[in-house]
């Protein structure tokens, strides 16, 4: 049994894995400050901080939603598409209320903005309800239900965007520009998304640790059948979880729209659902449900964004090219790291048998390839050979230990 994964942590402030994340964040920041040839952390600390904070807050908002869904034993793959739908719904609502101002890049007024934002959150509630219905009444597995909405909602958002622009503006368009000063203020003031993220984090933390509903979410994720037999209305708890997931994504969608001054359903939020799930998993959530904390997810989000920022600073190409690779590697390393204790004392091996033998060149090739593309061919060959030797030694050590 793993050490008590109790609902209330008995360790000092954070759990051990969360302290490890704090350390890792510090390490990543320190390394970047040293290695970055432009020294942007030294010369433009505020600008760098602002960048990281904005990205962290935007990802964090719906990573908190993903955390609630995952703790309840589910999964929501549709967050990225929900972001696109949310921004489109908000822009469409404002366009419908004051088409002339919207097309002329003029302020639309607080009433239209409020209606737009509320419409987005309502869309989130409706999508969450749809998920819960598909999962509890139709009894689809959560993966299937939200996979369907992952592809479906983005398409819906694009259709909504094209048909509303066709009716309300002179030309059909795949995007709607948003230039109301309300959204400009949000874009120009990074503290707004950060404050919203912080408040949402505190709210979610209270929800999970100090409310009956939060305990029921954990119970549901830990053992669904037992939860039902304990008199918990599991279907309602699931309904809440999926609505929370979709509505936080809708909220994040508003920030993405503000940030880019446009509702662009083709690309907005594309693939972001996996970053949110990754942040939760790096923060200690278990995809089998019942386990996870808000501080963990917050730290996981920061760590993910810091590492992405670090790589873009160090190799000076667009961060988006390497973002997926980084997220993938970080998730694998973080989850492996969480089992280090088990690996060290149990008889388990990382590189067992023929599979382990084939994994060694695979990993070495991957390592060499990445280094070659970022730091040049010679360094790549060296890194690949180095990895080969290190993994070979690990394999030797493991087989000697168990023999």
């Amino acid at each position: 049994m793993s050490p008590s994964r109790a609902s209330r942590s008995r360790s000092f402030l954070l759990r051990p894995n969360e302290w490890a994340l704090v350390l890792a964040i510090g390490l990543a920041v320190g390394l970047t400050a040293l290695v970055d040839a432009n020294h942007s952390y030294w010369f433009r600390p505020l600008e760098s901080l602002r960048d990281i904070l904005r990205n962290t807050a935007l990802l964090g908002i719906f990573a908190l939603g993903a955390t609630v869904v995952i703790i309840a034993g589910g999964i929501d793959l549709s967050a990225g598409s929900m972001i696109a739908l949310s921004s489109t719904v908000c822009a469409t609502a404002m366009l419908a209320i004051s088409p002339a101002q919207m097309t002329a890049f003029k302020p639309v007024g607080p009433g239209a903005v409020a209606v737009g934002c509320l419409a987005s959150l309502l869309a989130g509630f409706l999508v969450g309800t749809l998920h819960a219905w598909l999962i509890t009444a139709v009894r689809l597995p959560p993966f299937i239900a939200t996979l369907a909405t992952l592809v479906g909602l983005r398409s819906l958002a694009r259709a909504l965007c094209e048909s509303s622009t066709a009716v309300l503006t002179p030309t059909k368009s795949a995007l709607i520009n948003v230039s109301d000063p309300f959204f400009k203020t949000i874009r120009d003031n990074v503290w707004i998304p950060v404050a919203v993220f912080a408040m949402l984090a505190v709210f979610t933390w209270l929800l999970l640790t100090r409310t009956v509903l939060g305990r029921h979410l954990q119970a549901l994720g830990g053992n669904e059948q037992a939860a039902r037999l304990a008199g918990i209305r599991t279907d309602n708890v699931k309904w809440f979880a999926y609505c929370y997931g979709a509505m936080t994504a809708a909220l994040a969608g508003l920030f993405y729209m503000a940030n880019e001054s446009v509702a662009a359903p083709v690309n907005q939020g594309r693939g972001h659902e996996l970053n949110a799930i990754a942040a939760a998993v790096v923060g200690g959530c278990s995809l089998s449900g019942g386990v996870g904390t808000v501080p963990g997810t917050v730290l996981g989000t920061i760590f993910l964004r810091v590492v992405i920022d670090a790589v873009s600073k160090v190799i000076k190409t667009g961060a988006d090219v390497y973002e997926g690779l980084i997220v993938g590697i970080v998730v694998v390393i973080a989850v492996t790291f969480a089992q280090v204790g088990q690996l060290a004392k149990g008889g388990r091996r990382l590189l067992p048998g023929a599979l382990g033998l084939c994994a060694i060149p695979t990993l070495a090739l991957l390592c060499g390839g990445i280094v070659a593309m970022t730091a040049g061919g010679r360094a790549g060959v060296a890194a690949g050979l180095g990895a080969l030797v290190l993994l070979g030694l690990l394999r030797l050590w493991e087989s000697r230990r168990t023999a």
């Binding site: 119970a219 059948q225 304990a230 209305r233």
Partner: protein, 521 residues
Amino acid sequence: MRDAAPMPSAAAVPAVTMRGITKRFPGVVALEDVTLEVRRGELHAICGENGAGKSTLMKILSGVYQPDAGRLEVDGLPVRFTGTRSAERAGIAIIHQELALVEDLSVAANVFLGRERRDGLGLLDDRAMARECGRLLDALECRVSPRERTGSLRVGDQQLVEIAKALSLEASILVMDEPTSALTEAESARLERTIRRLLAGGTTILYISHKMDEVFRLADRITVLRDGRHVRTVDRAATTPREVTGWMVGRDVSAGPREARAAGRRLLEVRDLTLPWPDHPRGYRLSRVSLDLHSGEIVGVAGLMGAGRTELLEAIFGAGEPTWTGSISLDGRPVRFRHPREACDAGIAMVTEDRKRLGLFPDLDVAANVSLCSLAQAVRGGLVSPRVEDTLVAGPIRDTGVKTPGIHASIMGLSGGNQQKCIIGRWLLTEPRVLLLDDPTRGIDVGAKAELYALIDRLCRAGLGVIVTSSELPELLTLSDRIIVLAEGRLTAEFSRAEATEQAIMHAATGGTQCLAAGGH
């Protein structure tokens, strides 16, 4: 009967020798310097309370765990197992207490998992596997099809599939870890016949059980473990069940005669409860079952596996499909619960069978497991107050006598008996009037059982109405004021405490199946 004395030549080299075995887990020493010799061809029973180290010792013997210290010999030769596969090669197979079956595969596929038969083309030979599996199941007198999905079988049949799997290995040394804990008396009896056949064929069996009658019917020698240490090994003929239980718990255990209880007013009235069973030849899970429960009374429900005991409790509790007909009244008012929540609110509590699957929340600590159904009571100013919650759960944890290192310890670290007390405590917090207990002592050791009996008796005297089901007749006879017997979904008999005997109950429980059993031979 078999003669207990093994042949002298075979006794010279023990089948298995375990010397100085020590195994530590984080925080506990599961086994300390245990030495054990098992003679070839004997049935060697291992007894001890839960947590005594029986299962750990057997898992070391079968290669699941590696010992931290000590040596293992098979037929006098030192061996070192790196996994169950290597133990199987040495002729040792284990039937685990917790079932290790792939629910979505067929019975035959489970029996041959990892050792699949293949035909000339290298493809799976399902027909040969099904045929062979059918033969093994026949030998166990198990009436399920080899092609049936394993997950759709009852626990009792699943256990027999596990046994068939071990038999298919043709192991010379067979470890059985509480094989009858989920079996009914009839299933246990047919398992006993199988065991005797295996022993007659020369197989050596290590047998873990809590049930003294079983141990004393089957064993040649008995080893008692307590707190991870070897207490003693004796010939069965040289000891008594009372002596063995004494060594197990380190004290004298006796249930003792209990004072009569007085039943109060009628709480629950079930009339002609019928639960349909579509797609099944019988057509019903329960047929016209009637039952009364008074406050301060314990009604026992006896029946073989599949007789409908769990279904009866689930229908009352609103946990199953609400498709039943008939009537259920609580305090004279007709009720039909569609969700366990409604039953809780009406004052009914149910402790489910299969604690691990249906009762425990492994990710929550002891306190959260206990407070789960009544957490709303700990809300102060809109939020759950940890302080109030701690006080809330302290009551039932004390009253039920849970032994735990702390109320925030992991629930999975507790023994089965203490876990069960936590679950009963969870329900006591809801202040129920009717308590439904579905096989509450399954997999719980002797000492803890006696404590649970005392607890149930105490609750009943405080005015609760209790319905309890059990696979063990002595347990029902100890606990109940009245016993009703189900056979294949029908109520076949009702006994008062004075009338009930094991023979009479068994007769009523098998009443509906006599023709079938006769037809099977």
